[in-house]
């Protein structure tokens, strides 16, 4: 089981990234839950979602101590860093957050310049998928192929080129 918290600004694709993980998780591990924050904070403010993937029953979908925090902006990292389980992993976008800041010592820190990687590939708005790819590699229990497969199946033909771009981002994050 893994409890994953994704947080960033509204519009960064935080909820979508969570859905990608949940969908692939459903096929790889059976049980998942995806719980978004909602309300006015979705418009420009911070936005988050909590995803649980598990091969057993999921009790509460709410997460008190995430195993993984995917932080896509500084306010989210400030807000949730303290909640991560000791021994857990924080993946943060170092193109948006200063990686020289001090971190907790009892968690693993992955600084990935997700937005910059995405820009280089062709669309800076898809940093969320780079982050997701990075999470998939660090978590290890959801095969990347499953995520890619889900991505291809869940989009309409009209958007298939966007799906392929998303997949490139996922792979880049995975390889980081």
């Amino acid at each position: 089981m893994a409890e994953i918290m994704l947080a960033g600004f509204g519009g960064q694709g935080v909820l979508f990234a969570g859905k990608v993980i949940a969908k692939a998780g459903m096929e790889a591990l059976k049980n998942v839950s995806w719980l978004p924050s909602y309300g006015p904070e979705m418009r420009g403010g911070t936005c988050n979602c909590k995803v649980i993937v598990s091969d057993g029953q999921i009790a509460s979908p709410d997460i008190a101590e995430p195993d993984f925090l995917l932080a896509m902006n500084a306010p989210s990292l400030d807000k949730f860093e303290g909640k991560v389980r000791a021994g857990g992993t924080i993946i943060m976008d170092s193109s948006l957050i200063d990686s020289k800041r001090t971190f907790r010592k009892d968690v693993n820190i992955v600084c990935i310049p997700a937005k910059k990687i995405a820009e280089k590939i062709g669309d800076g708005r898809l940093g969320n998928m780079v982050m997701t790819g990075c999470f998939i590699s660090r978590y290890g229990k959801i095969p990347l192929a499953k995520v890619v497969d889900c991505m291809r199946r869940s989009v309409s033909k009209a958007k298939s080129s966007l799906a392929e771009l998303n997949i490139k981002m996922l792979k880049a994050g995975y390889a980081f």
Binding site: K19, A22, S33, L35, P36, Y38, G39, A59, S60, P61
Partner: protein, 359 residues
């Protein structure tokens, strides 16, 4: 039920309603249930149904009254403040013996309150939020899958007993996504015909009247008594609940909906430490599964009721336990969620009370 979909609770209810043969949805936007209306708006026209955004919650529930009286499976949905507005219509629907389904994805109150999930509408749902002697069936699912299953059941039971049924969820359940499987869709034509409906006499039968007015009190009294005889049968036949680890439980946590899932997290942690904790989760809030509480009171030493409110279901638990055991309460209000740790701590506190002889 082979294929599993990852769906929001709100959307899953809408799909389940359509598959239950509901083709008439009347609603009004309010957070956090709007996805339900949006799903209906998108899918009803494709499946031969009607989605209508009404001018108010009041109009929406009265459109449901009209459609239900005309013989169709009809539905409306809202969240707490909007459900308050619907109470007039719900009372009339109960008084006219009409079947329909009302969804409340509840949020913090009173007043405009908050937009986060809450369980503070228990009294309103189970004790008759509108005026007069009446009840509605109240289902309180705790997962997206159970939302689907209970929506189908709500339509069937509403028709069977000719009364309104409510799906009482909360914002969290409406907004969250989980894997869900669906039953085979039912076409409206497959449903039993409602001989009492106002669909035109066709000059072949006597007129049908849908009405809740009785100017002679003797008649109204008789009808209310008859309705309560039906309610008595429902209380006997229809209570639903889930029990987990209650056989040997010293302390029984009771909670419904999302709170019950939080309670399971707490129970798991406590069981690991050898604390004998079990759970009773009412699935129908009306009829309330009183009997199981009475039965478990024989062996359990105390009950702990966990709610996202200041304590509402706890009153029914106390009535059911009937003074035989102490019933404690642990809750958060205003749209805050009870944390498993708080439940864990409360159980520990109760155990200490017991050793001090206070329990």
């Amino acid at each position: 039920m082979a294929e599993k979909f990852l769906m929001k609770g709100n959307e899953a209810v809408a799909e389940a309603a359509i598959r239950s043969g509901c083709r008439y949805f009347f609603g009004y936007p309010i957070t956090p249930q709007t996805e339900l209306a949006a799903y209906m708006a998108k899918n009803m026209p494709k499946r031969g149904g009607v989605f209508l955004q009404a001018e108010s919650e009041i109009a929406a529930i009265n459109m449901v009254y009209g459609a239900a009286g005309a013989g169709a499976r009809a539905m409306t949905s809202s969240s707490s403040p909007g459900i308050s507005l619907k109470q007039e219509g719900i009372s009339y629907i109960a008084g006219a013996d009409l079947p329909c389904v009302i969804v409340n994805m509840a949020r913090g109150g009173p007043g405009l309150g908050s937009i986060q999930g809450s369980q503070a509408d228990y009294f309103q749902a189970t004790k008759g939020g509108g005026h007069g002697d009446y009840h509605m069936l109240v289902f309180a699912p705790n997962s997206v899958q159970e939302l689907v299953d209970m929506t189908a059941r709500a339509f069937d039971k509403a028709d069977e007993y000719r009364m309104p049924a409510m799906i009482l969820g909360d914002g969290m359940l409406g907004q969250m996504m989980e894997p869900v499987g669906f039953f085979e869709p039912k076409e409206p034509e497959e449903l039993p015909k409602k001989e009492w409906a106002t669909d035109g006499t066709g000059m072949k039968r006597k007129k049908n009247i849908i009405n809740s007015l009785y100017l002679e009190s003797e008649i109204l009294e008789r009808l209310n008594i008859e309705r309560y005889e039906r309610y008595a049968q429902i209380c006997e036949r229809e209570p639903l609940f889930e029990e987990i680890n209650t056989e040997d439980a010293e302390i029984i946590i009771t909670a419904y909906g999302m709170s019950a899932r939080i309670a399971v997290s707490a129970m798991t942690a406590l069981r690991k430490e050898g604390v004998r904790v079990g759970i009773i989760r009412p699935i129908t809030l009306w009829p309330f599964p009183s009997e199981i509480f009475a039965r478990r009171a024989a062996n359990a030493k105390a009950f702990l009721c966990v709610e996202m409110s200041m304590g509402q279901m706890v009153e029914d638990v106390r009535l059911a336990v009937d003074g035989k055991r102490p019933v404690y309460f642990c809750g958060r209000t205003g749209g805050m969620t009870v944390e498993p740790d708080a439940v864990y701590e409360e159980v520990k506190r109760i155990l200490k009370l017991k050793t001090a002889g206070g329990m």
